[in-house]
């Protein structure tokens, strides 16, 4: 009998796309609500977004079982922090915690592609983007998941500073207003849905600003 390879994988990909955009005094985090496996849809109404602290919101695509486990770990750690420090974690602090949590499982990773958004201590929008093992960077905008390759070039065109070599360097956050940023996010998802089979059904958008947090849902193509 020829040598048999292991053909059971502990991971599955449930698809989906997440996007976050940082503004001068707001942050938009959005994710579609479709959960799929292979060519089938598991549910059309699954939220990939979780609010970890009052100014930190995380969206994750990938393997939702690992995402759910990761969310639980972060929520527990945040609760402990609140007990020890008598305050909520700031978004940059949560960003570091997420990175450490991911790297802790460096040799059996969380199959989760995360994007963390929120307001920093000055009230400016911040977005942190991660890979599966915790490498992270603060950016002005980010997309992760199956539709990321379709959305990122569009956001680069609309939001990116022309070149890091041109001075003066533009700030990481976009000068767009909140309304314009939401319009951009809706366009991104409507377009990604047209061409990516794993993105669709609905898009859930959370907007954080000085007044608090607001949630909006938009219908997408269901095919």
């Amino acid at each position: 009998m020829p040598k048999q390879q292991a053909n059971w994988s502990p991971y599955d990909n449930n698809g989906g796309t997440c996007v976050a955009i940082a503004g001068a005094d707001y942050c938009v985090i959005a994710a579609d609500t479709r959960m799929s496996t292979g060519y089938s849809i598991l549910t059309r109404d699954y939220s990939k977004i979780i609010q970890l602290a009052d100014k930190s919101v995380m969206a994750s695509s990938g393997f939702q079982a690992d995402v759910r486990a990761l969310q639980k770990v972060l929520a527990a750690r945040h609760l402990i922090y609140q007990h020890q420090h008598n305050k909520q974690m700031s978004c940059p602090a949560m960003a570091q915690l997420l990175s450490n949590t991911l790297y802790f499982k460096r040799f059996f990773p969380y199959y989760a592609f995360n994007v963390l958004g929120g307001l920093d201590s000055e009230g400016k929008g911040c977005v942190f983007t991660y890979d599966a093992v915790g490498s992270y960077e603060r950016v002005g905008y980010s997309a992760q998941g199956s539709g990321a390759t379709l959305i990122t070039p569009f956001l680069d065109n609309q939001l990116k500073s022309p070149s890091p070599l041109l001075l003066p360097a533009k700030d990481a956050v976009t000068p767009l207003s909140e309304i314009e940023a939401i319009d951009l996010v809706k366009t991104c998802f409507a377009s990604a849905t047209e061409r990516d089979i794993y993105t669709g059904d609905k898009v859930e958008m959370l907007v954080l600003n000085a007044n608090g947090i607001r949630r909006e849902v938009m219908e997408l193509r269901k095919d």
Partner: protein, 273 residues
């Protein structure tokens, strides 16, 4: 058709000479190029006056939609149409080829083509390629012997059925057919059922999507209803639109002039043969 005399490479067809080299490249880490598969839901059913064929219109390349509105119901003869699932190039090529063969046969015999003729031509072609031509077809038509509906698998086997589905969305569509099909449907009932089965594939299978195409074939008449249903309009179009004013950034301009004068030396060395 005297195919047996010609050797495969001379006439086309598959030559397996590069298989060993491809294996070696894959082992070295080269990923084989992907081809366009149709994903797909295709169906056919027999009703009281003839056959109805249906198909979705999405063509996928892995997880990306390559064509949002492609045509999967192919013309074979005025009274015969064929839906194709699998590799798009294979379904196109094989249906075009058999369609041409049927036309020549019509000239030869002076008669209307029969569905079993198309069936035999398709199945023997697919069998001879041992499944490498990845075409799964639903063939339907009405000829002098009556209405016919067949499914043809990539390896060359066929079935004759009153209702059939193929493609990645075949289970979703077959669930509808098994619940609601009965013999002796009218034209409107049949079209409605076919559209429902294709919709089931479109919404529940990720490999199928966009619109519903329907083709109704009866004795002496066929109606090709392209985009019979469009249940998936674009959900959001930005009011203000977007401009793409950013061109490529020019960071540096340097002009290197080419040499202006070229000297011709008389009596130089002649060019080597």
């Amino acid at each position: 058709m005297s195919r047996f005399e010609e050797s495969a490479p001379a006439k086309g067809g598959f030559s397996f000479d590069l298989c060993k080299r491809n294996e070696m490249l894959v082992q070295k880490g080269l990923k084989p190029s992907s081809y366009l598969k149709t994903g797909t839901t295709i169906v056919g059913l027999v009703f009281q006056d003839g056959v109805i064929l249906g198909a979705d219109t999405r063509a996928t390349e892995g997880p990306i939609v390559a064509d949002k509105n492609c045509e999967k119901i192919h013309y074979m003869a005025p009274n015969i149409y064929c839906c194709g699932a699998g590799t798009a190039a294979d379904t196109e090529a094989v249906t075009d080829m058999v369609s041409s063969q049927l036309k020549l046969h019509r000239f030869h015999t002076g008669r209307e083509s029969r569905v079993v003729t198309a069936l035999t031509l398709l199945k023997s072609h697919l069998f001879s390629y041992q499944g490498h031509v990845s075409a799964a077809l639903v063939l339907g038509g009405v000829d002098v012997t009556g209405p016919h509906l067949h499914t043809i698998y990539p390896h060359g086997s066929t079935d004759t059925l009153p209702f059939a589905t193929m493609g990645s969305g075949s289970l979703a569509a077959m669930a509808i057919f098994e619940s609601k099909y009965r013999e002796g449907l009218t034209r409107d009932e049949g079209v409605k059922l076919v559209a429902e089965a294709i919709s089931s594939g479109i919404f529940n299978d990720l490999g199928s999507g966009s619109n519903v195409d329907v083709c109704v074939i009866t004795k002496g008449k066929r109606e090709y209803l392209r985009n019979y249903m469009l249940p998936n309009p674009r959900t959001y179009v930005s009011q203000k639109g977007y401009s793409f004013s950013k061109k490529t950034e020019v960071l540096m301009t340097k002009i290197t002039p080419l040499r202006e004068l070229v000297e011709v030396i008389e009596g130089g060395d002649a060019m080597e043969e």
